[in-house]
């Protein structure tokens, strides 16, 4: 292993000088800098992460807690993780992966072992048991999602309330008078996942203000569940012409079931989906969507984390405005 001493010797300077060249925390003459940098390159020197962590109390590692259940959107999680790790690397940090399954204890462990400099937590529930503990930790924490009482924690998420409203507004403006929301599986609601509730609020509020009939129903992602869900919704209102789908997993089943029923999209029924843009085109009819900006959320989460690490101590809550992209699955209802 090549150490800072080797570099120092090779460059004919003191180890501390090498350290200062690397960190830039003291001014160095151009000549010395060049000398040192050359030795570093020639020897292939990489500072020992453990030693560095010990001496500086910084690990340059961000911990990310992800949900690993498969009943929620795997593609979104992946997209988020991908963007987070890329953003972290851009800031010279690495990403440590933790699972939600390990519970609050894992967060304690990571914090008190000084394994990571900060925590990013996905899939936050309205009354998440991890929140009190996270507040007690003296690490920077950024939540992806917004709990009921963030109390001092930074949060970033899509503005699901606005997203719910945007979907209804779009349909209302096309002339629809009756719309239904197909939501996440009942388990998601039961868990108190806050985005589901927030979306529903926005949906209901916009329905009221646009004077549109609105119903909603959670839906698991099996073919039977989807079919039963459509039965219910159409029975409740045979004049239903607009569907808002806040559950990417049911889309294939939903579209195929609609066709079975002889309902064409968008001629007979319009569909707005909440899902990643990348998913919109992978259907027989390109879907009008409100995008889930997983990539942007990931990047923002990392950016907020870096700000906290840089000393910016005031917590912020960032809600990203929804972006509705009109494609081929929505149209004016037939008179």
């Amino acid at each position: 292993m090549v150490t800072i001493n080797d570099v120092a010797t090779a460059a004919g300077v003191a180890p501390s000088t090498v350290s200062y060249v690397i960190s830039g925390k003291r001014s160095i003459s151009p000549k010395t800098r060049r000398l040192v940098e050359e030795s570093i390159r020639k020897l292939g020197y990489h500072p020992h992460a453990g030693a560095r962590a010990l001496a500086s109390s910084k690990t340059n590692v961000l911990a990310l807690v992800v949900p690993l259940r498969t009943d929620l959107n795997v593609a979104v999680v992946m997209e988020f993780v991908a963007s987070a790790v890329t953003a972290a690397r851009a800031h010279d940090h690495d990403l440590l992966l933790l699972t939600k399954d390990e519970g609050p204890a894992a967060l304690q462990r990571v914090a008190s072992s000084a394994i990571a400099d900060a925590l990013m937590v996905m899939d936050v529930e309205a009354a998440d048991p991890r929140v009190p503990m996270l507040i007690a930790l003296d690490l920077p924490v950024v939540l992806i999602g917004v709990p009921d009482h963030p109390a001092g924690l930074s949060c970033v998420d899509l503005d699901f309330t606005a997203a719910g409203s945007a979907c209804v507004a779009h349909l209302a403006e096309l002339g629809h008078r009756s719309v239904a929301l197909i939501g996440p599986s009942p388990a998601v609601y039961r868990r108190g996942t806050s985005y589901a509730t927030r979306f529903l609020h926005g949906f209901d509020a916009a329905a009221k203000s646009h004077d549109v009939r609105a119903t909603n129903r959670p839906c698991a992602h099996s073919y039977e569940a989807v079919s039963a869900c459509l039965d219910d919704l159409l029975a409740a209102d045979p004049d239903l012409t607009g569907l808002v789908v806040h559950n990417e997993a049911v889309l294939p089943a939903l579209l195929s079931d609609l066709r079975h029923r002889g309902l064409r999209v968008p001629e007979d029924i319009s569909v707005v989906a909440v899902c990643p843009d990348s998913m919109a085109e992978h259907h027989p009819v390109a879907l009008t969507t409100v995008a889930i900006p997983a990539e942007e959320v990931g990047a923002q989460a990392v950016e907020m984390t870096m700000r906290r690490l840089a000393g910016h101590t005031t917590p912020e809550v960032r809600l990203l405005g929804p972006r509705l992209t009109r494609r081929d699955s929505t149209a004016a209802p037939r008179a």
Copy 2:
């Protein structure tokens, strides 16, 4: 921060004794052990990871290199990651996530900074440029996938050759005389991803030995591509009755396109898919599959890594036997 000294003082012993209690590397009297363990619990002591890494040259971190492209199977990657992190935690290790995008340099960095104790690399290509570098590293490395020249690296993967054969064998046994393989997108072949080629070999070999007509075609996962692909295959052989799909992403499009053409599954055409079991039921007709055992591969990869870390130096190549589960998408062809 609570250190080993605090624990030692509280327990009335030397710091080294505390260390030995934790590591179990020397015998400790029951009395002392109890004393120390109580102090640890009372103080909430967690060893400082950096200090530990510095002193022992062990980080208890495994690095996992994942592909973050979305043109390949996101669900499989996630499942693999989930199982790897879980298995790693079971061995008291954490998982650091790296992306393939960072290239070989990232591997160098992780190795020479002593950030992780071992590397696990997914999505290995037949002539992967990272392989020579990985061999040069003196870290334990486990590849998920098998390159042409593993030369001293451990590998684990589904036996795709056997999987390809199994699919054909199943169809042949049902009485099909003409089958086609719908493969991964052309980009995957272009990249030289070895599992695609191996699967094809198995497919062809079994077709020959079962005396079955066989064609194959790569296919991107857009609706147009799928449609064009079916056009080609059916034009080439109108008597085609069996489809092997080695590309989960096209399944929804494929099934819906078949229905459009008036081809019923399995009455008119049988379909065997290679995909995770969890995906088999999420289609209008439950799919006969050869499972991609992402979870088992992940667990095995971690286990192999731990063996290397424990001193087992001989590299091994483990190919997991394919498991075909018959569901509703395959049947005997109509006479």
